[in-house]
């Protein structure tokens, strides 16, 4: 059987009659499975969910083995790399990555095909503080603005070697990258200086800088602070930074660790600060640019300790690294199916502040569904269809 799929990036999908989808198992929410479940859509929203095979009156009924809510990637990277990061300074909290994104990038379609309907995109970690990340749908109208769910969910940054890599001390003819920080220590110094200056700028206007008002809002907890920290020492630094801000009375950071591959090492630090963790793709031990060791049971360990865990693809695109497969690997590491489902739906929805719209299959929420050919998250199952805002945008259903 040959399967041919023509994916036109911008072509509108099936419109007209509202869809009705029926599945042997409808995974409406973690812990809620409806056998013989039926989802009826109305426009861009879910109208009703019910049990029992539908009578075929009127609308087309699509039948699949399983349905879940559209998945939410807590750290997708569909950016043009360095071009989406303003590198004239290391600290740019006022910049939004949204402006640098390309709605025609094939990366959105890749996410969509794998069942990811909502994604959080952060600026790549070339800057210490890169600016606002954005929560948006991976398909739909042809503009980033129209797809955006939240433009102010979180300010993003990185701790570790990445922001300083490429910088070098000035010698010979200076280049743009002849500047500090050149080490992890310098990166940490930039973080602390940024917060201390931002806080002080209320009383001493001379210490203000572009974005200091944003950082003051972050200190008040109005935006989350997503810090990419792969290794043990970097996660430690991030947590200590939060505790220092609290201790010195500057404010309460709503810290989220992104790409916390080595979070399994010192979970107590995260537990005592209640820090949620977004995990990067599992691999064979060492992962990512920092070669951090990512144990397979990390998700289970953190869940058992009571922490919020979300999974992510961190921009990876192969069939073995999709978000659905990450949920499968997390199950291999010990997570139950419901916990894995939560890690790719309800938990990231809550962390990103969009739980009122996405994350579960419930009446009134956005009509974002993933139609599976078998048990979700197994490699022997495949995403046969994706409904986004009521439209069947990915259709690989057998005829």
């Amino acid at each position: 059987m040959i399967v041919l799929a023509l994916l036109a990036l911008a072509a509108p999908a099936q419109r007209g009659a509202d869809l009705v989808v029926h599945a042997d198992r409808l995974y409406a929410a973690p812990g809620t499975v409806i056998e013989d479940g039926v989802v009826a859509l109305a426009g861009e929203k879910i109208a009703t969910i019910a049990r029992g095979a539908p009578d075929s009156g009127g609308s087309d009924v699509i039948h699949v083995a399983a349905i879940t809510a559209g998945m939410i990637d807590a750290s997708g990277r569909v950016t043009p790399g360095q071009l989406a990061v303003e590198q004239s300074r290391e600290v740019t909290p006022n910049v939004a990555v949204a402006v640098g994104l390309d709605v025609y990038d094939v990366g959105w379609a890749r996410h969509l095909e794998s069942g990811v309907t909502t994604v959080f995109v952060a600026p790549d970690s070339y800057n210490v503080i890169g600016g606002f990340g954005i929560v948006l749908k991976t398909g739909g109208p042809e503009s980033i603005e129209a797809r955006t769910l939240r433009a102010d969910a979180a300010v993003c940054g990185a701790i570790g070697g990445r922001p300083s890599s490429g910088n070098s001390p000035a010698s010979g003819t200076p280049r743009m990258k002849s500047r500090r920080p050149t080490t992890r220590m310098g990166v940490e110094w930039e973080w602390r200086k940024a917060f201390y200056d931002a806080e002080a700028s209320e009383r001493v206007p001379e210490r203000a800088f572009p974005g200091s008002d944003v950082l003051r809002a972050v200190l008040r907890g109005e935006h989350a602070l997503v810090v990419e920290a792969w290794t043990t020492q970097d996660i430690r630094t991030a947590v200590f930074l939060k505790e220092e801000m609290e201790r010195e009375g500057l404010g309460d950071l709503r810290l989220v660790i992104d790409a916390g591959a080595e979070a399994w090492k010192e979970p107590q630090l995260l537990v005592r600060t209640g820090t949620p963790v977004v995990l990067p793709p599992f691999g064979d031990g060492r992962v990512g640019p920092e070669r951090a060791f990512h144990a397979w049971n990390t998700a289970k360990l953190l869940r058992d300790a009571g922490l919020d865990v979300a999974l992510s693809s961190h921009g990876a695109e192969s069939p073995a690294t999709t978000l659905g497969m990450q949920a499968g690997y997390a199950m291999r590491g010990g997570l139950s199916f419901d916990e894995a489902l939560a890690a790719v739906t309800t938990t990231p929805a809550r962390l990103l502040g969009v739980a009122d719209r996405v994350g579960t299959v419930e009446a009134g929420k956005d009509a974002d569904l993933v139609l599976w050919s078998g048990t979700p998250f197994e490699p022997s199952s495949r995403v046969l269809g994706v409904v986004l805002d009521g439209e069947l945008v990915v259709d690989e259903l057998p005829d």
Partner: protein, 481 residues
């Protein structure tokens, strides 16, 4: 579960899974489910292995376990034949030599038994591997089928003379035209060389014999006899006058190929390469022994492949994607489905990361609509048949090698682990003793990572104890900062 073990010692850190115990003459596996790949599954089954071969297999009621057999009693596990990797070029020193025609090189000289690839193969249930040279050649060297155990190549050997690698895709530096010419010339040079050899013999020249003696080649027994040339496409009259031992050692492997004594694994990266491969093989009489190793885009030449009537080994990339540069429309093709539809026998390859091993490839095929039966065949029985080992591996049957993999669940499920591997009646892998598996799963003391701090480590000690620690730490932190 009861296992009687004789001494097992760890050989290198991380390689503690190999047992070099004396081979148990008799071994029995009692498993909750046996997937035989040769008929129905057996529930509560027993496999008896004697002298390295399966002598009995069936339900526990029907099969008698010899009183002196070592027994692996694992009622919760699923027994499976072990995956067969029909083509691989990992596990050795550099995959290719620089010269175009290197058929005289043998992979036994470059296989590295302690290479991580073999250890990983066991971890993922791959028990038979056809190691061939890489694709960057015109005619590569001779490969061998091995099992991923033991410290020496000889002990790993399953089948010598497993085949020679060729490539219709250009070696780096060549264009496709040059590559095709090089392939053809290798055989026309062989023919010319053999004809010269016969002519010299007829004229009474002794040069070839003296050269052979000088090089220390063997001229005894079979090698001292001339043999008429076999092969279907072309012949050299009078070759029986020339003792085999006098044929130059660089040319002889090519002669073996033309005479159909050796299988050929012919790599085609692009659809246009299939024609060249089939033509070269047909013109030189070895098409009947050829297995095509195809790149993902070769699905476009599926009709040509089917017409050639030969089995294929497919690329590890199962889904071929193409994007129209003008419209941006993407076309996806599930490659194994195309060949299945044309009735071509095919086997799969694993991708480079060990987590995309053969179980994953087979599972992906099921996802794309292939029946479980066909998907499993592509990584067990079909692969074994392609290697000429259909009577030895790929399924659990009486008379086959005693190679059994015990899974914690469905072999195609992401949550299943390989718990034990028995090869030839020896228990060679136990996950409980696999140090690296512990690293991967639990992050237990992997080398070269930062040590955890006392304050940071203890998971699950939240609450009071955590609060106490926090108070202590606050004081010291203040000083440090």
């Amino acid at each position: 579960m009861s296992i009687q073990r004789t001494a097992a010692f760890p050989l290198l850190a991380g390689l503690a899974l190999f047992s070099s115990a004396a081979a148990a003459e008799k071994y029995a596996v009692k498993a909750g489910t046996i997937v035989t790949r040769a008929g129905d599954d057996v529930t509560n089954g027993v496999i008896v292995i004697e002298g390295g071969k399966i002598t009995a297999i069936g339900s526990a009621d029907d099969v008698q376990i010899p009183w002196d057999a070592e027994v692996l009693d694992v009622p919760d596990l699923v027994a499976f034949p072990g995956f067969v990797e029909a083509h691989s070029n990992r596990g050795m020193d550099r995959a290719n030599e620089n010269i175009d025609v290197a058929a005289f090189l043998d992979i036994r000289d470059s296989i590295d038994p302690v290479n991580f690839y073999f250890e990983d193969s066991l971890r993922w249930g791959v028990t038979t591997i056809n190691v061939q040279q890489g694709n960057n050649c015109v005619i590569g060297g001779q490969g061998m089928v091995v099992r991923p155990v033991a410290m020496t190549v000889e002990e790993m050997l399953v089948k010598p003379g497993a085949g020679v690698k060729m490539s219709a895709s250009p070696k780096s530096g060549n264009s496709r035209a040059t590559q095709a010419q090089a392939l053809r010339r290798a055989f026309s040079d062989l023919r010319a060389y053999l004809e010269d050899l016969v002519e010299e013999k007829r004229q009474g020249f002794d040069y070839a014999r003296r050269e052979a003696l000088y090089q220390g080649r063997d001229l005894e027994g079979e090698r001292a006899k001339g043999r008429a040339m076999g092969g279907g496409a072309w012949k050299v009259e009078g070759l029986e006058l020339v003792p085999r031992g006098e044929i130059d050692e660089k040319q002889e492997p090519l002669l073996d190929i033309v005479e159909g004594r050796v299988p050929v694994f012919f790599y085609c990266e692009a659809p246009m390469d299939v024609r060249i491969a089939v033509e070269v093989a047909r013109d030189n009489g070895f098409l009947a022994n050829t297995v095509l190793v195809l790149g993902a885009s070769c699905w476009k030449a599926a009709d040509e492949v089917a017409a050639a009537g030969r089995p294929v080994v497919l690329d590890s990339n199962l889904v071929h994607r193409e994007r129209d540069p003008v419209t941006g429309e993407e076309q996806e093709t599930f490659v194994p489905g195309v060949f299945q539809g044309k009735g071509v026998k095919f086997a799969l390859q694993s991708a480079n990361q060990s987590s995309e091993s053969l179980w994953f490839q087979a599972a992906m095929c099921v996802g794309y609509g292939m029946s479980r039966e066909d998907a499993l065949a592509a990584v067990t029985t079909s692969a074994a048949e392609i290697l000429g080992l259909g009577d030895r591996v790929g399924s659990l049957e009486v008379g086959h090698d005693g190679d059994v993999v015990l899974f914690s669940g469905d072999p195609l499920s992401v949550t299943s682990f390989v718990e034990y591997v028995v090869l030839g009646g020896d228990l060679v892998y136990e996950r409980a003793k696999d140090v690296r598996a512990k690293h991967l799963l639990e992050g237990l003391e992997p080398p070269n990572t930062a040590p955890a701090s006392a304050e940071g480590e203890a998971a699950g000690e939240a609450g009071e104890e955590g609060a106490e620690k926090k108070d202590e730490e606050d004081d010291t932190e203040g000083d440090q900062r």
